[in-house]
């Protein structure tokens, strides 16, 4: 007992001094010097199904240096003795918009003295050249850059600018890495991945180009202005990208007459259109998911990712036929608005039930139902709050039937694989970043606060 107190004091003293500010060089903001830690006597869940009942995790230079029942601890390491606690890989929220600007942020414009107006993006789609005779273009042209909602090449990881409070809220739920997506738009850009902390908080982005996000939004001031237009626009854009790839191939092969457009928007979509980059479709209701099925089938797009998938349990055959991975949002819809809720109306209509516990259960058991049916699932907060709320929702999912193992898998190993950051995160294995969550007891998702969070070896 005394030993515990003394160790605790040692930790506190050392932690205080370890977090001392050190000048990293002229003109640069002060960084944080990392300490090395050893978490001892702790139950280690390195991955779902890989448990060490009592052991040590050694963190050096922000990475996992050793994991095991018996680990020798070198000098200069801060020891945290954690009997009665468990350590897990930090949670990954596979799709969040925290810190990512909206797809409908203001459109950048530049006024130039000469030059042609740009095609694509931004302006009104309305009047087709040649249809309406135009005169007097004038000397000065205002050129719109691609509107963010169709800036297919934009990287969420490059635009990630979280506030300190946002990062703190993420960590409070045990979330140490996030998948970065845009809120909406049409082709708002590419999916990225980032850490929620670490020694250098100006460099949290971990991965870009993890996927091409596609949503059924609208374009400001132009075509498409409705969801039904969006479907046609998406189809045409992907067809054009496939065509571009074909032309490009012919061009490179020296085929006479081949002439790719080299248009930035189309170029940016070539990887997803040729199955070189996963397509991440934002779709939650049943009909939207089915629409994705139609589009991917028509265009030969394989293994799409469905972000949201909140009515996934209603369209399991469709998801399986697509070979889709479901990034299941735990920002649950109101059961009264779920597709088919009105089918419970009596004949003649009217008197929709106000609250139906069975319907609520169905909504919450979505992830469990999908996993049971063999659909690959990762969990996310997309559309809702991440951090502690995300963790609460995971707990509620477990209460609704998701197995704790599956819950852990869907928030660690699986999202790491989906985002392409397996080398750095998702399990407690030597060489990976020290992204760790410590709780008292055995259950990561129990209704207890997070005890400790490490992101890239920095203790918060």
């Amino acid at each position: 007992m005394a030993r515990g107190i003394l160790s605790g004091l040692a930790v506190a003293l050392f932690a205080a001094s370890a977090q001392a500010q050190v000048d990293p060089g002229p003109g640069r903001p002060p960084g944080v010097v990392l300490a090395d830690y050893a978490l001892t006597n702790v139950r280690i869940v390195a991955a779902p199904g890989r448990v060490i009942e009592r052991g040590t995790v050694l963190i050096r230079n922000g990475r996992i240096a050793a994991v095991g029942p018996q680990v020798s601890i070198p000098a200069g390491v801060v020891t945290m003795d954690l009997p009665g606690h468990s350590v897990f890989p930090g949670l990954i929220d596979a799709a969040t918009t925290v810190g990512v600007p909206s797809a409908y942020r203001p459109i950048p414009t530049v006024t130039s003295e000469s030059g042609r107006g740009g095609r694509g993006g931004g302006g009104r789609g309305g009047n087709i050249p040649g249809l309406v005779p135009t005169v007097n273009q004038g000397a000065s042209i205002t050129q719109s850059f691609p509107a963010p909602e169709v800036d297919a090449g934009a990287e969420a990881a490059d635009l990630f600018e979280p506030t300190p409070d946002q990062l703190k809220n993420l960590r409070a739920g045990g979330v140490t890495a996030v998948g970065l997506v845009f809120d909406s738009g049409l082709f708002p850009g590419r999916v990225g991945a980032a850490l929620t902390g670490g020694p250098d908080e100006s460099r949290l982005a971990l991965r870009s180009g993890a996927g091409q996000e596609i949503a059924f939004g609208t374009r400001r001031g132009g075509y498409p202005s409705t969801g039904i237009g969006a479907v046609a626009f998406i189809r045409q854009s992907l067809l054009d990208a496939q065509y571009e790839a074909r032309l490009d191939k012919a061009f490179k092969a020296g085929t006479p007459g081949a002439r790719p457009t080299n248009e930035p928007f189309t170029r940016a979509l070539v990887p997803v259109a040729t199955n070189d980059m996963p397509a991440w479709f934002v779709a939650s209701p049943e009909r939207a998911i089915n629409r994705v099925g139609e589009i991917t089938k028509e265009l030969g797009i394989r293994s799409p990712v469905i972000v949201g998938a909140q009515e996934g349990w209603r369209v399991i055959p469709s998801l399986k036929a697509m070979g889709a991975t479901a990034v299941v949002s735990l920002n649950w819809p109101n059961p009264q608005t779920v597709t088919g809720a009105t089918f419970k109306n009596p004949i003649g209509g009217g008197n929709v039930t106000v609250s139906d516990p069975a319907a609520m259960q169905e909504v919450r058991a979505n992830a469990a139902s999908l996993i049971k049916a063999g659909v690959p699932v990762v969990l996310a907060s997309f559309g809702g709050e991440s951090g502690a709320t995300f963790r609460e929702r995971i707990r509620a999912s477990i209460e609704a039937g998701l197995s704790p193992d599956d819950a852990l898998r869907a928030t660690t190993v699986a999202p790491a694989a989906l985002l392409g950051i397996t080398a750095a995160a998702g399990t407690i294995d030597v060489g990976k970043l020290a992204n760790l969550v410590v709780v008292s007891g055995n259950d990561l998702f129990a209704n207890v606060p997070i005890k400790h969070v490490f992101v890239e070896g920095r203790l918060y």
Binding site: P346, G348, G349, G350, N351, V352
Partner: protein, 434 residues
């Protein structure tokens, strides 16, 4: 197709013949003043009686006499054996005469600026050659209420016939009711919301119930003082006196349970008669309405039910109201389809309103609501000669309207629809190339 065309032409010819057979000479203008002798019809009086083989004498705009075998020298004779006579129908709320094409702003002068306009009279602002009037009367709707909108107090609605030489001639009750818009009463009220349709919710934004009550208090005070000859006349307050003396009712747009209760309470508070206009979900307070004898103008049966109500809510409501003892009338809303007010009645009948009550709701109940029961609403001696000669029940679209009498004049068939029909029916068929 050729056979069909022949059948059509034959039927069309019969139809035209029926239409043209009755008058002995071409009618012009608003129709002849008569006198008329209409012979041998089955008269559905609207009082519950059906009189077989009955003659009607029309003179001076009124029904002079009714009975079997009666005659009148020098009267124009109209043979109606085998036909029916029904009282002319009433659409109890329209903008006819004030509004022509609702999408055109200059053809839509139904409201004035300002919140308190009880002095504005619809009767003086009516276009009597409105095409809407013409098509309305030719379908057997012989009277309509035409009403202003806007503000807290919109003005005086007029009960008019659908044919006349001047607005003095056409008015049945030039001031049939004063439209008062209670804030929030016409909008979504009660559980489930959605009751906002059909009301005349004018520009009450920014105005409050307190403002309205302040005006009512001042008007009531004025009324008392004027009765005691203790104040000079005021143009704005003077028309309010008819409310407090209960000569004229207030017409209050109200939908939803809360809105209707609010309107009824308003009537009690100020001691005035109230007619509910709209009445979406009136069934919820039918006992109250019956007890207080507050009638309802049902604004358009052609609406959708409120979201959590069964499919027949709007259609079955009149049946429930009738059983509770509430009196009501029908309005089609925009005026352009006032001629089809019997279709509203038909829907109500299909969903539980007895036929005779439906007929009353089309005829005598609106007459009573507006204090015009001495003049219209039934086919009885002494009343205005407002009736239709038909081949059957006017609520049944399979029957034809043959002639329409308004204020003792047979309406000529010169409305817009008939004119365009006649023109294009007469287009020569294309010549068949052999």
């Amino acid at each position: 197709m050729k056979a069909l065309t022949t059948v059509f032409r034959a039927l069309g010819a019969i139809g035209m013949a029926l239409i043209l057979a009755a008058p002995l000479q071409a009618q012009a203008g608003v129709g002849d003043d008569g006198p008329y002798l209409i012979r041998g019809a089955t008269v559905v009086t609207g009082t519950g009686q059906t009189l077989a083989n009955t003659n009607i004498i029309v003179r001076g705009g009124r029904i002079e006499r009714m009975g079997q075998g009666i005659s009148a020298p020098n009267a124009k004779v109209i043979e109606a054996a085998g036909k029916y006579i029904y009282p002319g129908m009433v659409d109890a709320n329209t903008p006819i005469g004030l509004v022509e094409i609702s999408g055109v702003q200059t053809m839509t002068m139904r409201s004035e600026i300002g919140q308190f306009n009880p002095h504005l009279r619809a009767i003086v602002a009516l276009n009597l050659d409105s095409e809407l009037l013409g098509v309305t009367r030719m379908s057997g709707v012989t009277s309509v209420l035409t009403s202003p909108t806007g503000g807290l107090i919109s003005g005086q609605a007029a009960l008019i016939n659908t044919s006349g030489w001047t607005w003095e001639d056409i008015g049945v009750k030039p001031s049939a009711g004063i439209v008062i818009n209670l804030p929030n009463a016409a909008g979504a009220g009660g559980r489930g919301g959605g009751g906002g349709r059909g009301g005349l919710a004018g520009a009450v934004a920014g105005a409050s119930v307190a403002d309205l009550n302040a005006f009512m208090a001042a008007a009531k005070d004025y009324h008392a003082k004027r009765s005691a000859n203790a104040t000079k006349p005021d143009l704005i307050y003077e028309p309010m006196r008819a409310l407090f003396s209960r000569e004229t009712p207030a017409i209050i747009p109200a939908n939803g349970e809360q809105g209707i209760r609010q309107a009824v309470d308003f009537g009690d508070q100020w001691g005035i008669k109230v007619i509910i206009l709209g009445g979406n979900q009136a069934w919820r307070v039918r006992q109250l309405l019956a007890q207080k004898q507050v009638p309802v103008i049902l604004s358009s049966l052609m609406q959708s039910p409120t979201a959590d109500m069964p499919y027949d809510e709007i259609y079955a409501q009149p049946g429930l109201l009738n059983e509770a003892g509430v009196k009501f009338a029908f309005s089609t809303g925009g005026g352009a389809n006032a001629r089809h007010v019997p279709l509203s009645a038909a829907l109500a009948v299909a969903y539980g309103l007895p036929k005779d009550a439906a007929l009353k709701a089309l005829t005598i109940w609106p007459a009573e609501m507006f204090g015009a029961e001495k003049d219209i609403g039934t086919v009885e001696p002494g009343k205005l000669a407002n009736f239709v000669i038909t081949t059957g029940d006017p609520m049944d679209m399979r029957s034809q309207i043959i002639d329409v009498f308004i204020k003792g004049r047979m309406a000529p068939e010169d409305d817009r629809h008939h004119r365009l029909y006649a023109k294009y029916k007469a287009r020569p068929l294309p010549i068949k190339v052999p």
